[in-house]
Symmetry: C2
Subunit: 130 residues, 2 copies
Amino acid sequence: MTIGELARASGFRVETIRYYEREGLLPRAHRWRDNNYRDFDKEALARLHFVRRAKAAGFTLREIRELLDLSLTPGEACGEVEALLSRKLAELDRRMAEMHRMRENLAALLASCRAGEAEGACPVLRAMRQ
Amino acid sequence: MTIGELARASGFRVETIRYYEREGLLPRAHRWRDNNYRDFDKEALARLHFVRRAKAAGFTLREIRELLDLSLTPGEACGEVEALLSRKLAELDRRMAEMHRMRENLAALLASCRAGEAEGACPVLRAMRQ
DNA sequence: CTGGACCCTGAAGTCAACTTCAGGGTGTAG
DNA sequence: CTACACCCTGAAGTTGACTTCAGGGTCCAG
Ligand SMILES: [Zn+2]
Ligand SMILES: [Zn+2]
Ligand SMILES: [Zn+2]
Ligand SMILES: [Zn+2]
């Protein structure tokens, strides 16, 4: 698979894929010997799917790389794998709690906006003004 | 109120407040005539509280400035406020759903790691390349 | 054999949201 | 008087995650 095909299949741009390779999120791609073009396999596509999901969940590239590095750790380091995984889980829970608070904040603002509409004065705007 | 007092009252750093003023999140402060020190009023503190809440709700500075600008245009800006709020709410919901999926992913990974430990082979690698 | 789509590299640029720096004034306690 | 906390400005630096650029090679339909 050329980098362009991988880009179309993954939804990441060509430049982003090269950048991810540089940053260690993808293994260095094997090259087509005579033209030096990268040649990706299905695993690269699976990784990019994982990267997309992880990004959507709010992980930084560094964290995603750590997770991916875990997957390369052989079974013997199972304890470390577990430790890192549960640390990430705890972090995720913290972030999810934070998001819940944000959501409640936002929903309250929206509700007060709608409630104030009847009275002709937006309480959100009023709150900002005064 | 000096900028330092405002900083202590608001929890933002002095430099951040100057930055916010430059960026239009605060009106340009009135100056203490003979020494050119900024002199803030209660409204500035109220704005900073609003900025903090909005940031906590996930708004960018640009969006916060948009909200503040809406509050300066008299009339029915309420609809726009609502639009901005519900757009943000939808975005937040999307991200929360992603995080939930990611959490289940990681939890399953951790469980399978623990289960696989007995058999001497860590299934993490397989799970992540699925 | 040519034009256009595609590939390569290393370096520099961008954006948000700040922070730090350089180089200077002000106010007050001791 | 002077040390020291506080204030000022404009500019440059930081971080993360890319994107754009400069300056090339490659492949293939017509
Ligand atoms: Zn409203
Ligand atoms: Zn409304
Ligand atoms: Zn669930
Ligand atoms: Zn394991």
